[in-house]
């Protein structure tokens, strides 16, 4: 370093300045880029917020479904084994709540389209089947449960 000519020193100083300038430019570019990414991110977050205010109803229903599975799990484990047959007949009866779908179909407006007649027919049969189960299921369950007595 000590035996550099003034020309050489000047040359080196220029090179250093150039490097510093390049680095600064790169830093500015990076900052710009970072800002761009941030901007994108915030835009995404914003759009996510927008979506959150309108979550697909399916998600809510799915949440109910998952929760109900857990509720069912704990409730059914607490059922005494002596009542497993009534458990089956009552679950049979309540799963006939599918009748709500059949009722919707019977109530279809004739003018709603070419399939309305079919829908009503299927709905009618569906209602009959579900009704067998509703009445039969609950009645046979209560008949069974009436038989369980304690020692007198």
């Amino acid at each position: 370093m000590a035996n550099l000519t003034p020309e050489q020193a000047l040359e080196q100083a220029r090179a250093a300045a150039k490097a510093a300038q390049d680095a600064a430019a790169a830093a500015v570019g990076a900052a710009d880029k970072a800002q761009g990414i941030l901007g994108d991110l915030s835009a995404q977050v914003a759009s996510a917020h927008a979506a959150a205010s309108a979550v697909d109803p399916f998600v809510f229903q799915f949440s109910i479904f998952v929760m109900a599975i857990f509720v069912g799990y704990y409730v059914v484990w607490s059922v005494t084994p002596a009542l497993h047959t009534p458990l089956m007949s009552v679950t049979n009866a309540i799963s006939s709540v599918i009748v709500v779908g059949a009722l919707l179909a019977v109530g279809v407006d004739w003018a709603s389209g070419p399939g309305a007649g079919w829908a009503r027919g299927f709905g009618f049969v569906g209602t009959v089947l579900a009704a067998v189960n509703i009445f039969g299921g609950f009645m046979v369950t209560s008949r069974m449960l009436a038989m369980y007595k304690k020692k007198s």
Binding site: V75, T80, M88, I94, S95, V97, D109, S112, F122, M144
Partner: protein, 465 residues
């Protein structure tokens, strides 16, 4: 009525259904639980009628359908014999499955009324939910019909093993998935009905190879399926009552299947693959059968039991077949009168469905606090003077504990052989459903009582006087 109120009312009926199941934790609360269930159903139906405001004609149709179905259901429920409960439950499962198919068929014909799009342009998501519901529903339908036929004795309880059945089932399952994908893309009704057809066939093929002794698992499994089918349709209709119920029933059936499999020490997969109970050859062959057994008469049995201080009665499917529950109760009453302590021991898989024996004993007025589950009573056999076994073969077979070569090895059994005397009622020397020879018959402390369970028990009652 506003949509919000409707949704809340459906939620209320869903909660009432949860309370209906909760009530079953004890016989004392169970009757109230059943009433909650009925109220929940009434709310669901009332809400739907208020929502759709049917025209006069539609109203008449609905009332007609409810009257026909309700009448059939009520008469069936009143007349059915308690011994026929497994068949009835299987029959009811089939109806839920079929109803799911019809509701889906209606929805695809009138999508606007179900809020899932317009004809030919049904939302893809709704199609996925619907096709899952309809496929499971159709499988439940035919599967339950086969289970019903087997349980009712209209079809042999022996497994029917078709050639290449696993391959055929897998092929059908793959076709089903392809069809569902096609339906979602095209929304075509033809594809919808193809899904129904393939699922119907699959339901038959899945249940046909499963033997009679595995029916407790099958009935529970179909119970579970009917729940998932209902849930699938519930998603299509966006109805929370249906979704909650489907989830409850689905998990209930799954838990019962698990309990039944554990009671047999078998994996769910091995039950579903079927074929169990088909082979009749015992592990040791014919040499075992020629051994002598000690045979007794009703008179001997009456004498032994009269002089006992503790008798444990072990009912099995044989009691249901012979309708012997009332005679058994009468015998127990006589014994109690003589100062004998009488208890009942029930194996989880005794009979053809979960809790089958408990219902029969309840029908015969046996107090439920005299009836015990396997874990609660198994230690009592060592102190019992008599174990009175009525047509319960595999669940009392000590080979499950001692013989690793036995097909039932590892199955938890009732330790009846620890009682001082085992009285074993049986129609003949045949083996149980598992096709396994019962070591118990040849023990010194076992006395075989050959005959019909009901007649033999009645004979014993006469001799007790």
């Amino acid at each position: 009525m506003s949509q919000n109120i409707t949704a809340l009312l459906y939620l209320v009926s869903g909660v009432l259904f949860i309370m209906a199941l909760r009530g079953l934790s004890s016989p004392a609360t169970s009757r109230k639980g059943n009433v909650y269930g009925m109220v929940g159903m009434a709310i669901a139906i009332g809400t739907t009628l208020a929502l759709i405001k049917p025209s006069f004609g539609a109203y008449a149709l609905i009332l007609l359908a409810l009257a026909i179905g309700g009448g059939v259901g009520a008469i069936t429920a009143k007349r059915i014999a308690m011994t026929a409960m497994p068949q009835l439950v299987a029959f009811f499962h089939s109806l839920v499955g079929l109803a799911a198919v019809f509701v889906a068929a209606a929805a695809i014909n009138a999508p606007a009324a179900f809020g899932i799009g317009s004809p030919g342009h049904i939302h893809g998501q709704a199609l996925v939910e619907m096709s899952l519901g309809v496929a499971i529903g159709a499988i439940t339908f035919t599967g339950s019909v086969i289970a019903f036929l087997k349980l009712d004795g209209r079809m042999s309880g022996k497994p029917i093993l078709l050639p290449m059945r696993h391959l055929v089932n897998i092929a059908l399952a793959v076709i089903l998935v392809v069809l569902i994908a096609t339906l979602v893309m095209t929304g075509s009704q033809v594809v919808f009905w193809l899904i129904v057809l393939v699922s119907l066939a699959l339901g038959v093929l899945i249940i046909v190879p499963i033997g009679g002794a595995d029916m407790p698992v099958v009935v529970s499994m179909l119970n579970s399926y009917s729940g998932w089918a209902a849930a699938g349709i519930g998603f299509t209709l966006q109805n929370s009552a249906l979704i909650i119920t489907g989830a409850l029933v689905g998990s209930s059936g799954a838990i019962l299947s698990y309990i039944m499999c554990k009671g047999m020490n078998r994996s769910f997969i091995s039950v579903i693959l079927g074929g169990f109970g088909g082979e009749t050859a015992g592990p040791a062959g014919g040499a075992v059968e020629s051994r002598p057994v000690k045979q007794g008469s009703a008179d001997d049995a009456a004498f032994i039991m009269k002089n006992a201080s503790k008798v444990i009665i072990v009912p099995g499917y044989g009691m249901a077949v012979a309708q012997a529950q009332h005679a058994v109760r009468e015998m127990a009453d006589k014994l109690k009168h003589e100062g004998v302590e009488v208890k009942y021991a029930i194996h989880p898989v005794a009979g053809r469905m979960p809790g089958h024996m408990n219902v029969l004993l309840a029908e015969a007025n046996v107090p439920y606090d005299e009836v015990f589950e396997l874990e609660d009573i198994n230690n009592d056999f060592a102190q019992a003077d008599v174990a009175y076994v009525i047509g319960a073969n595999d669940v009392t077979n000590p080979a499950a504990k001692t013989d690793p070569a036995s097909p039932i090895f590892g199955m938890p059994i009732l330790d009846v052989e620890k009682a001082k005397t085992v009285l074993f009622i049986k129609r003949g020397m045949g083996s149980g459903y598992a096709g396994v020879e019962n070591e118990l018959f040849f023990r010194d402390n076992t006395m075989m009582l050959f005959g019909d369970a009901k007649k033999m028990t009645e004979e014993i009652i006469k001799n007790l006087d």
